[in-house]
Amino acid sequence: MRGLVAGLMAFAVFFIVQAGVFHFVKISRRALAIVGLWIAGLPVYAWFYTWLPDDRAVWPVELAAPSDSITVLSGGLLYFFLFMGYAQFFYMAESSVGVRTMIELASEVENGLTLEELTQRYRYDWMLDRRLRRMIHAGYLIEEDGWHRTTNRGRLAAAILARCKRILCLGPGG
């Protein structure tokens, strides 16, 4: 339990700090900020782990594990996986087209919206431009005279994604 409790406490600290920072400061490079805060939480995990007592002093025998490398690893994995799960939620809130669509529909509770009305509310050029800029910034695309082409990194990512789509028979997707 020592590792798991330390991992959970470290994630709680990360979550509160991240929410506070994003609430009070307008962050432009969100991915960098969120990963940076998670990395800064690693020493916090180590501190919590050191601070917590050995399992056998606190927990019943069924829930007690020796304070060995597997326990440290397990807590670290929990801290990592909780972050991954939160990142999924964060990017869903930030970028999901489905979420944005539900929010648009929520503004028309009585009559709802048709596909055409949704299309008018959603600025496709803005949405496309936002994603293109993000991919250029991340080094997946290069823009030259209004043309966009993939970098080596982008080509590799596109090839992996296309291969995975084929393996799982997912169609073009997007």
């Binding site: 798991l4 929410a19 994003f22 609430h23 399992d55 927990w59 019943p60 025998v61 069924e62 829930l63 007690a64 594990a65 020796p66 060995d68 597997i70 326990t71 397990s74 929990l78 996986f81 909780l82 991954m84 799960g85 809130a93 930030e94 087209v97 489905g98 979420v99 944005r100 669509t101 539900m102 929010i103 529909l105 929520a106 028309e108 009559n111 709802g112 919206l113 048709t114 596909l115 949704l118 299309t119 959603y122 050029d125 949405m127 496309l128 994603r131 293109l132 991919m135 030259e144 209004g146 082409r149 993939t150 994604l161 789509k165 393996i167 799982l168 028979c169 997912l170 997707g173 997007g174």
Partner: protein
């Protein structure tokens, strides 16, 4: 606690194999639901195996087998569950990632380069929205009547929760 980790890793590896085979042999109509059912069924099997097998699984070093069975199982289930959540992130990136689709479109174009207007022509907003609307209809987040889409109670709750998160974290209108 190594037994739980070994069983969780093996369980997730079996899930991946079954998932790939199922999707290749007979694509389920509700893909994500099929994945959740698979991971759940294998999770039940994992619990049964954990209770029925010896703490060293016949090959683990003794020093890693001294943890209580409950913490070992809990740790294994956490890792198993989170491996699935992590995989879901990857799966949705492959299946729905708009940015990934743009890179694939650019790569498959004759000159391997496209202007934004050409990307929009290959994958229009209408196509993007239609796909999302169909998915949300399937999972009961919205309803459709005479071409008009409305949130269900579930959709309204999700919209309210995400609106709050967007406002609180200053994420902008997004999408």
């Amino acid at each position: 606690m190594l037994k739980g980790l070994v069983l969780a890793s093996a369980g997730f590896a079996i899930f991946l194999v079954v998932h790939i085979l199922l999707f290749r042999l007979r694509v389920p109509t509700r893909r994500f639901r099929a994945m959740v059912r698979m991971i759940f069924a294998l999770g039940v099997l994992l619990i049964a195996l954990h209770r029925l097998t010896p703490s060293d699984l016949g090959f683990l070093p003794f020093e890693y087998t001294t943890a209580g069975w409950a913490i070992d199982l809990l740790n294994g289930l956490l890792v198993y569950g989170f491996l699935f959540i992590g995989y879901c992130m990857f799966y949705f990136l492959i299946d729905r990632g708009f940015s990934g689709r743009m890179m694939i479109e650019i790569e498959s174009s004759p000159q391997r380069r496209l202007r934004p207007s050409e990307i929009a022509a290959r994958y229009s907003l209408e196509m993007v929205l239609r796909r999302r609307l169909n998915e949300m209809l399937e999972i009961g987040r919205i309803t459709e009547l005479n071409g008009r889409y409305q949130n269900t109670a579930k959709g309204r709750s999700a919209a309210a929760m995400f609106s709050f998160v967007k406002r609180f974290l200053q994420l902008g209108e997004g999408g």
